[in-house]
């Protein structure tokens, strides 16, 4: 087959009917540009939500849950005369400390493992905050500030004040933006913290942070490990959580199993379980994006199919004469398939350019996210892979759409056309 000749004929055909070629192209252009905009925006949203959650979520969290014993408690009668067995139904949770035994040492050991990026110990408790007579429920977390900065970039979440003051001062805390608003507390104000067991401490607010997640900003507060241990009245080895980040977060489930085998007495939770709802959202958005993109490309494909069919009906005489002068069926197929592919590639490249342009505009458009989201414009991803696959799918669509009309063209019987 003579591809060069087929190419010359195909391009001459296209150029001699510019209007028709451009209309055919526009179908693909529209499909591909929408594909680019959709996928850039959707993956941008996914990325943003995941980053926001992942920033603050440990890859694996180790803690000691409040557990009920599954088995019933059975006791023998105490008196000599009492020969009965007592079975304790509907037992209440045991007053157990939620302390991880040897937590700090366990943290150090885990930190030395090669998969681990770092471990941040935490001691947290539910508390009431008072600024005046009203009690506001929340939590307080005692943290190791350097590792918290390193793993969860807490320092970047500070709106007012700084973590340095938290490190230096005693009886100081930083509180969430929402919590500060509820209490009408400002930096420098003193608030009272009360634990469920009744311990109470007056602390000074040295900073206000915001994660961009309302539920957290309205309840959380941080202080040093020592401060929280002091409020709770526990010893300095008392740790309730170990939050760790791994070098590769996708290996979290595997690594969790390995850790669990080493430390069977604590409970471990990986980020995929903790963020199941966000991951499900991502999955649904991906499916939606895929469905819309495929629909767009199919519509563009049908456009090309129609135009190619019309084109071939218009070119019956030419096909007949080419076959009469010695062109084979394959040559004819090549001519029309090439036309279709040229439409596809030209339309596809135009679509990529337009898609890029509009995603760029979108990425510059202010996003009315409210004060809680740490985001000012629409989240948009620019990935070469999306552009490559856009072009590839455009190519594939036109290949399919052009194939059947081209095969039909190859079957044209020249005698029928020439004899009229």
């Amino acid at each position: 087959m003579n591809w060069k000749l087929a190419f010359t004929i195909a391009s001459t055909h296209l150029l001699s009917k510019k209007k028709q070629s451009i209309i055919a192209m526009l179908g693909v252009t529209f499909g591909i540009s929408m594909f680019i905009i959709m996928i850039s925006f959707m993956t941008g949203v996914n990325q943003f939500l995941e980053d926001m959650a992942m920033d603050n979520t440990p890859h694996i969290r180790i803690y000691k849950p409040i557990e009920l014993r599954e088995e019933k408690i059975i006791a023998e009668g105490q008196q000599q005369t009492d020969k009965t067995w007592y079975v304790l139904e509907h037992q209440r949770p045991k007053n157990e400390l939620s302390k991880i035994k040897n937590g700090l040492i366990m943290g150090q050991r885990i930190e030395e493992m090669p998969e681990v990026l770092g471990v941040a110990p935490e001691v947290s408790s539910q508390v009431f905050f008072n600024n005046g007579p009203v009690q506001i429920p929340g939590t307080i977390s005692g943290i190791d500030i350097p590792s918290e900065e390193k793993l969860f970039s807490l320092d970047k979440k500070m709106d007012e004040g700084s973590l340095e003051e938290l490190q230096k001062g005693s009886d100081v805390i930083v509180i969430g933006k929402g919590l500060a608003k509820k209490m009408n507390a400002k930096v420098g104000d003193r608030v009272s913290v009360t634990t469920p067991s009744g311990n109470n401490l007056n602390v000074r607010v040295v900073g206000i942070f915001s994660f961009g997640i309302a539920a957290w900003d309205e309840t959380k507060s941080y202080a040093t490990l020592a401060t929280v241990q002091k409020i709770m009245g526990v010893d300095p080895s008392y740790i309730t959580d170990l939050n760790m980040k791994l070098k590769d977060k996708t290996g979290a489930v595997e690594f969790k199993k390995k850790l669990q085998a080493l430390y069977p007495n604590v409970y471990m939770e990986d980020w995929e379980t903790a963020n199941a709802s966000i991951l499900a959202g991502t999955k649904i958005r991906n499916i939606m994006t895929g469905v819309v993109c495929i629909t767009l490309l199919i519509v563009a494909g049908f456009g090309i199919y129609n135009i190619m069919n019309m084109n071939i009906i218009n070119k019956m005489k030419d096909i007949a004469i080419l076959k009469a002068t010695g062109f084979e069926g394959n040559d004819i197929t090549a001519i029309f398939l090439l036309q279709s592919l040229m439409i596809g590639i030209a339309g596809g490249i135009a679509g990529l350019a337009i898609g890029w342009f509009f995603s760029y505009l979108l990425s510059r458009t202010p996003f009315p996210a409210g004060e809680f989201f740490r985001i000012s414009t629409f989240p948009v991803n620019f990935k070469l892979f999306h552009y490559m696959s856009g072009l590839f799918f455009g190519f594939l669509t036109t290949l399919f759409a052009g194939y059947f009309p081209s095969k039909r063209a190859a079957k044209v019987d020249p005698v029928l056309i020439i004899r009229g």
């Binding site: 003579n2 000749l5 001459t12 030419d318 004469i321 010695g326 062109f327």
Partner: protein
């Protein structure tokens, strides 16, 4: 004189609208350098015969041999290649590709055959256009040429691969007197000087009478053969 085309007992049916025998056993030979005309009334089957001879119509009984090769039973692609190399066509309606120039139209079958380099093909195409007196119009688009001019370009295209047989389906049917005469003279020259065999179907008595041999058909039979300029073997 050597036989270039040999048709033996060609039988052809049409199935639409009902089964009908168009050709009822046609046998004849054509020699190298012979200018042959097929005449007959409309519907006698002469065009049908020509398209069978052209190898484009493969749905027939009997055998056809061209240039020593049996073409009956060959595949479509083989036949396409065969036509490309050994046959030239001139039709009643010129059938040039309207988007291309006269020169490109002439070059097309040669580019397909790819026996020569594109430069050489262009050179040869201009030669052929000169032969039919159309070299001045080489760069004009086919759609911008008059009927007579288009027919001459079509002849140049038929000649580009130096075919052994040139077939014409009423090549002058759509032309005025002067242009018909011109086409006739080109054919005559090809037969005598280049020793190419010419087979044309025609309604034009002047055209037929100028050829070497006339085959007259009626109702799917050959009913007579004439040698208008005296028989010569």
């Amino acid at each position: 004189m050597s036989t270039i085309l040999k048709a033996t007992n060609i039988v052809k049916y049409f199935y639409e609208p009902e089964k009908f025998q168009v050709l009822k056993g046609i046998s004849f030979d054509a020699n190298k350098g012979e200018f042959l005309s097929i005449i007959g009334k409309s519907g006698c089957g002469k065009s049908t015969l020509l398209y069978i001879l052209s190898t484009m119509d493969t749905d027939y009984e009997g055998t056809l041999e061209i240039n020593g090769q049996k073409t009956t039973g060959q595949g479509q692609n083989q036949l396409a290649h065969f036509r490309n190399e050994h046959m030239g066509f001139v039709f009643q309606f010129h059938y040039l590709l309207p988007e291309f120039t006269a020169l490109q139209n002439v070059m097309m079958p040669a580019l397909k055959l790819a026996k020569y380099s594109p430069d050489e093909i262009e050179h040869r195409a201009i030669e052929k256009l000169r032969l039919v007196g159309m070299d001045e119009y080489a760069m004009k688009h086919a759609s911008k040429l008059s009927g007579g001019q288009q027919q001459r370009v079509a002849i140049a295209r038929a000649l580009i691969n130096d075919p052994t047989v040139i077939m014409g389906d009423e090549p002058t049917g759509n032309l005025d007197k002067a242009n018909s005469q011109r086409v006739f003279e080109i054919f005559k020259q090809l037969a005598t000087e280049n020793q190419q065999t010419i087979i044309t179907v025609t309604h034009d008595p002047d055209f037929a009478n100028g050829s070497d041999r006339i085959i007259e058909m009626e109702d799917g039979h050959i009913i007579g053969t004439h040698f208008p300029n005296g028989e010569h073997s």
